[in-house]
C-alpha cells in the first residue's frame, strides 16, 4: 500500500517534470525566459545540481570542489570534438567517464575525512586543479585563452565517415542535427529528464537508503556490518559524473573550455542552488538552479541606464539616490542580491524553496478541509 503510493507519486513527479521541460518555452515566455540559451542553461545547471544533491543531499558530505569535475567534463568534450568527431554523443560519454575517473582519484583521498575537513580538502583539490589548468597543464587546457576548436583539428571519426569539412569552424551536432537553438535546448532537456529519472531511482534504491544512513549515523552503520567508505566514494563518483555530464553539455552549447569553470565560485554556486531549492529533495536542486540562473540573467542585465529610465518619474535627486542604491544589487553587483536571497531562504525556510512550496500546499489544504491531519516532517520529505 505504502510502496504503491511512493512509486505512484514518483511517476507523477516524473511525468510532471517531463511536461514542464517540454513546455518550458511557453511557460517561461511571459516572464521573459522563453529563449533557448537561457533554458539550456537551466537544464545544464539542473543536471549539475541533481548530481551534487546525490552526494550532499543524501550523505551530507558537502563538497566545495565539484566545479573541478565540471571543468574536466568540458575539456574532455572539446578534446573529443577536436580529435574524434563533432557528434555530441562520444563527447558526452567521454566527459562522464573522465570526470568519473577523476572523481574516483580525488574521492579516494578526500573521503578519508568528513565534515568541515572534507569540505576544505575538496576546495583545496579544486583550486589545485584550477591552478594546474593555468600552469603545468597548459598543453591540455590551452591556459588562459581556453581550449578552442581549430579549422585543422584532426576529427578522425568525422574523416572516416566522410563528413565534409566546411569553410569555417564546424558546429556540434547530433547525427547531423545542429545543437544550437531549440534543438540544443531539447537535447539538454532530454538528458536532464534522464538524469532526473536516474536520481529518483537512486533515491528510492537500497543504495540510496544506505547513503541516507551515512548522513544519519556512520557509527551505527559500521556496527551494522556496512563499510561506509565505498558508499560515500560511490556517491562522490556518481555526483562527479553528473558534473562531468553538465560540463560536457556546456561545451556542446559553446565549444570552448576555460579554467574559470573550475573556480571555487562555480563550486559554491552549485552548493547555493542545492540549498536554495531544498537539500535532499528530488526536485529542489533543479528549482534552485533554475531560480538562480533566472535571476542572474535578469539582475545582471540591468544597468544604470535602464534604472534611470525606470525611476524617471521620481524627482531628480530621488531618482539618482534610488539608482545608486539599487545599482549596487544589479548588473555586476547581482551577487549581492543572490547573497541576500540566500540568507532570507536559509533563515526562514531551512528546507529551501521546496519547503516553502509544501507549506503553501498545506495552507491551501487546511483552508479547503477544516480539520486536517497533522503532517510530520517525514510526510513532507516523503511526499516531495
Amino acid at each position: 500500500m505504502i510502496n504503491f503510493n511512493v512509486k505512484n507519486k514518483d511517476h507523477m513527479l516524473l511525468i510532471g517534470f517531463i511536461i514542464v521541460v517540454a513546455l518550458a518555452p511557453i511557460i517561461m515566455a511571459p516572464i521573459g525566459g522563453g529563449y533557448p540559451d537561457l533554458l539550456q542553461k537551466f537544464a545544464i545547471f539542473g543536471i549539475f545540481a541533481i548530481g551534487f544533491n546525490i552526494l550532499f543531499g543524501l550523505t551530507g558530505y558537502l563538497s566545495f570542489g565539484h566545479a573541478a569535475f565540471l571543468g574536466v567534463g568540458s575539456y574532455t568534450a572539446v578534446w573529443t570534438f577536436k580529435l574524434l568527431t563533432m557528434n555530441v554523443i562520444p563527447a558526452l560519454i567521454l566527459s562522464i567517464l573522465f570526470a568519473g575517473v577523476f572523481a574516483l582519484l580525488i574521492g579516494f583521498i578526500v573521503l578519508r575525512r568528513s565534515g568541515i575537513y572534507f569540505s576544505i580538502l575538496t576546495l583545496a583539490f579544486a583550486q589545485m586543479s584550477y591552478n594546474l589548468a593555468y600552469s603545468v597543464l597548459t598543453p591540455i587546457t590551452n591556459g588562459e585563452t581556453g581550449l578552442q576548436l581549430r579549422l585543422h583539428d584532426a576529427r578522425v571519426l568525422d574523416g572516416l565517415f566522410g563528413v565534409t569539412r566546411g569553410e569555417g569552424l564546424p558546429s556540434t551536432s547530433l547525427f547531423g542535427m545542429s545543437m544550437s537553438g531549440w534543438s540544443g535546448y531539447y537535447f539538454c532537456g532530454v538528458i536532464m529528464i534522464i538524469a532526473f529519472y536516474i536520481s529518483i531511482r537512486i533515491f528510492r534504491s537500497p543504495f540510496g537508503m544506505m547513503l541516507r544512513a551515512v548522513k544519519s549515523n556512520q557509527n551505527r552503520m559500521s556496527y551494522t556490518g556496512l563499510n561506509t567508505r565505498p558508499y560515500t566514494l560511490a556517491a562522490f563518483v556518481i555526483s562527479g559524473m553528473y558534473a562531468g555530464l553538465a560540463g560536457g553539455l556546456m561545451a556542446i552549447t559553446d565549444p570552448l573550455a576555460g579554467a574559470e569553470r573550475m573556480q571555487w565560485t562555480a563550486s559554491g554556486e552549485v552548493v547555493l542552488m542545492t540549498i536554495l531549492g531544498g537539500t535532499g529533495t528530488l526536485l529542489g536542486p533543479v528549482i534552485g538552479a533554475g531560480v538562480i540562473k533566472y535571476f542572474e540573467n535578469i539582475f545582471s542585465s540591468f544597468n544604470d541606464g535602464i534604472l534611470m529610465e525606470a525611476f524617471s518619474w521620481l524627482p531628480e535627486f530621488l531618482q539618482h539616490a534610488m539608482v545608486s542604491v539599487i545599482g549596487l544589487f544589479v548588473g555586476e553587483g547581482w551577487h549581492l542580491t543572490l547573497g541576500a536571497l540566500f540568507m532570507v531562504i536559509v533563515i526562514f525556510l531551512p528546507g529551501g524553496l521546496i519547503e516553502g512550496i509544501s507549506r503553501i500546499g498545506n495552507v491551501i489544504r487546511r483552508w479547503r478541509k477544516p480539520k486536517p491531519l497533522p503532517t510530520t516532517e517525514a510526510d513532507t520529505a516523503a511526499s516531495e
Binding site: 510502496n3 559500521s222 556490518g225
Partner: protein, 251 residues
C-alpha cells in the same frame, strides 16, 4: 564449547587501568551476564569485542578467529551484533528503514552498489523488518522518524535492528536502562524467547531482576578485574560481590 574466548585482556586510559587481565569464556547458546558497579569497565570490555577499541594486550577470539585488528563492519559480518549503552540508531530515518538497513547488510554484505533496484520492491526485507518491529512492540510506529522515540523505545528499536541480522553473538549493553517496568518485562520475555532459540548473548545489566531472570552464568567485574564468576545462585551470596556493590555507586 566456547564461542567467545577472552584471554588476559588489558586496557589502559592514561593512568587508569580500565581492564586488568580479564579472562572470559562465553559458552555457545548461553546467556552470560556481566555485572559490576559503574565504571567497572563493562562497556570498555564490549568495546574490545566489536572493534571500537583495541586492547593493549591479550586476545579476543570469536569462533576460533581473532577479532583484534578487525574493523567494526567486519566483526559484524562474522556474526556479532551489539546494542549500545547510548542508543545508536539512524535518527533521521523511519523505524522500518532502521530495521531494513541491517537486514540488507546481512543479505548483501558490507557493500553493494544496488542503485537501480527499488526498496519498494524488497517485500521480503520489509516484511521481515515489520515482524521484528512487531516482536519488540513498535510496529504501530513503523513510519515514525526514529528520533521521536523515547529512550526506552530507541533501545527496543536497536534490539530489533540487531535481531534482524540473526547474529551468532548478541552483545547487550544495559538493554533495559530507561525503560518503563512494563517494557522491561516485555523485553525480558522477548530475550528469553530468543535465548531459547539458542542465540548466545552477553548482557550487561544493572537491574538484578533482569539479570536473574535471564542469565545462566554471571561474571562480576570491579575496577577492571573479574572478581567472581559462576551460576546465578553462587553469585547471589558471594561475599566479594556484596562488597564490590556496597563499595560502588550502584546497588
Amino acid at each position: 564449547m566456547s564461542i567467545l574466548s577472552v584471554k588476559n585482556v588489558n586496557k589502559q586510559f592514561g593512568g587508569l587501568k580500565a581492564l586488568n587481565e580479564v579472562n572470559l569464556e562465553i559458552e555457545a547458546g548461553t546467556v552470560h551476564a556481566i555485572i559490576g558497579p559503574n565504571g567497572a569497565g563493562k562497556s570498555t570490555l564490549l568495546n574490545c569485542f566489536v572493534g571500537r577499541l583495541d586492547p593493549d594486550t591479550g586476545s579476543v577470539d570469536f569462533d576460533g578467529v581473532s577479532l583484534l585488528g578487525m574493523k567494526p563492519h567486519e566483526i559484524n559480518q562474522v556474526g556479532v551484533s551489539r546494542v549500545f549503552q547510548t542508543p545508536e540508531i539512524f535518527g533521521d530515518l523511519t523505524l522500518v528503514e532502521n530495521v531494513m538497513i541491517p537486514s540488507f547488510a546481512s543479505r548483501d554484505g558490507a557493500f553493494r552498489l544496488n542503485g537501480w533496484g527499488q526498496v519498494a520492491d524488497e517485500n521480503d526485507v520489509r516484511e521481515n523488518a515489520m515482524e521484528l518491529l512487531e516482536d519488540v512492540g513498535l510496529v504501530e510506529q513503523c513510519d515514525t522518524v526514529s528520533n521521536q522515540l523515547s529512550r526506552g523505545d530507541k533501545r527496543r528499536l536497536e534490539l530489533a535492528m540487531c535481531l534482524v541480522q540473526k547474529p551468532k553473538l548478541l552483545l547487550l549493553d544495559e538493554p533495559t536502562a530507561g525503560m518503563a517496568r512494563a517494557d522491561t518485562n516485555n523485553t525480558i520475555d522477548l530475550l528469553k524467547k530468543i535465548a531459547k532459540r539458542g542465540l548466545t548473548m552477553v548482557i550487561i545489566e544493572h537491574d538484578m531482576h533482569v539479570v536473574f531472570s535471564l542469565a545462566e552464568k554471571i561474571s562480576v567485574l570491579a575496577q577492571g578485574t573479574v572478581i567472581a564468576e559462576g551460576l546465578p545462585n553462587e553469585i547471589k551470596g558471594h561475599p566479594k560481590v556484596q562488597e564490590a556493590y556496597l563499595g560502588g555507586a550502584h546497588l
